[in-house]
Symmetry: C2
Subunit: 374 residues, 2 copies
Amino acid sequence: MYLLLTLLSTVCLAQPADSVPAPSNVLNAPYPRIYPDLRVTFRVNAPQASKVQIAPSGNANGLGRGPFDMVKDDKGVWTVTTPPARPGFHYYTLLVDGYPANDPSSETYFGWAKQTSGLEVPDKTIDFYDIKDVPHGDVRTHWYKSKVTAAWRRAFVYTPPEYDVNPRKRFPVLYLQHGSGESERGWTMQGRANFILDNLIASGIAVPMILVMDNGYASKPGDPPSSRGNAAFPEVVVHDLLPGIEAKYRAIPDRDHRAIAGLSMGAGQAMQTGFANLDRFAYIGAFSGVMRNFDLNATYNGIFSDPAALNKKVRLFWMGFGDLEGDLFTAGKSVHSQLDRAKVRHVWFETGGSHEWQVWRKSLYDFAPRLFKH
Amino acid sequence: MYLLLTLLSTVCLAQPADSVPAPSNVLNAPYPRIYPDLRVTFRVNAPQASKVQIAPSGNANGLGRGPFDMVKDDKGVWTVTTPPARPGFHYYTLLVDGYPANDPSSETYFGWAKQTSGLEVPDKTIDFYDIKDVPHGDVRTHWYKSKVTAAWRRAFVYTPPEYDVNPRKRFPVLYLQHGSGESERGWTMQGRANFILDNLIASGIAVPMILVMDNGYASKPGDPPSSRGNAAFPEVVVHDLLPGIEAKYRAIPDRDHRAIAGLSMGAGQAMQTGFANLDRFAYIGAFSGVMRNFDLNATYNGIFSDPAALNKKVRLFWMGFGDLEGDLFTAGKSVHSQLDRAKVRHVWFETGGSHEWQVWRKSLYDFAPRLFKH
């Protein structure tokens, strides 16, 4: 009986044969479904609504411009098939009579300062962020009470596969930050940083390392109330996070074995924290950083005005962007030219993509192998 | 200027002075707010909607019966203050013109087979699940490829604080399962199992142990398609999960150092898996289990029909319920009486509360200290 019902429901729902459920669907939900050409069919049950749309979040979202109007059937089920998407991870919202709701069929991810639906569109041409049959490191929660913010905070810590096997070995550490409106969960949930590192380490391309992914929001007690305060973050890193990590995990506690990087807002925080603390960090990475007001003689306390001194201290300054990042990309490229002219040693990276996680996955894949090999 | 704007916005929003943001709010969102008497004010921006309600999920939800109609102001902001809530964790939904949406101000938790808003209402009378200034264990992700399901699966693993400090010591393991429509994230996100164990271990009440929290859904390749298939779970535990955990973590690999427990659907899975594998597990816990069709001579292959044999093998069979669980509670109490009459040794636990996480937090707090002390 159960089998019969299941078969009937499968037939009646008539899922298109050449499409497959998105990897970001919850509990085997049949929709959204992705076609071989990367068109996506969304399906939503909303019998009382008079208009339902799929709205990709942000500009240059890989799902397309949108919002895409859905069409209602006689049972109140709404459907739309969107044009071929770019591979990668895309935030999106359901607009139900104009109200921004989540798609109950998709996993939610912290982005846009709230839990937001996300769609993972597989890329047939690359597999460096897929889970593979290689040894896997653990992603751990690290809770700590911050003296700077007087509050409990949570960071995620990736320990490489070798960490538990070899209980005397110490490892270098990459501090890796999320973007605005996101959280400490971003780099593993959206970014798959753990699988990227598993694969890089298994193939010998990157040195085994610890990743520390903290929350970038931090305000001091008495700071004006704000939902997005992050001014205290560099102090948290120096006074709370770094000492706590090195007390608890087997890190190599010197500047040559510490890197700091981040994406978008996190790129700014990595540069701000890193360049102000070159006694602590030798490697700095800025993924899709905001560099519009860059001034060679003034930015980061004028640290770029003495290239010889900087080149001596910084083992790697890495900046990267996606070619669809518009103003951000243009500003970054201009900084790259200025640094070249001033002979500030750095790595410039550009790849296809917009201000989305696919660019940051590729950034990490290029950045991590350059670390800790001096 | 920024300061001025922030101050103005704070004054204009006029948050009630004696209420505080719920601990489950995202990024310092000011609402929902909880009053000292545990009334809760919700606030939602939905200018285009003509009706917005707060709908507590399930029966006997601690937020009240609902749905609670919200009232719209002239800016399209909707507000309602609900009656005093029971302390604990409560799933809820926003009904926007009848469409079930999440509250963007609250964290989402996997429940009801999708990401669902949740509200944490603090309990002034108990603090055993709060984060405290004690050593904290890590909660780790454990990815494994299941031979039974032919798919990658994720479990969360709590290692006690001592685990990393003392790299030769081995620990007993409690396998702990979530309920229907939930996931492997439930016991840490909703249940705070890690903080409960941190506190129990720090005070010496429980033995340091490893917790393994797997996903309870598991189907074999070729099984009829179903979004809620879980029939293969016991096989996954025996053939994939348990050997994988014991290969990777420093577990004590014998039955006297293995326990299995779960809540609701997970209670059934713990009893099914545990009683069928008494060569592997000596401790079994059923939190709010479904026991309506219990038959002393037939259930779990008639294992209760030979109390002497069972009492010899099972070091602990624990069953517990909240007094507001209705039929579940009644059925459980009847099983308790039947086991008493048959002289099947077991622990019966009852506490205040409904079929919600507060009962399961209290269940774990009672259950865990009874483990691994023989």
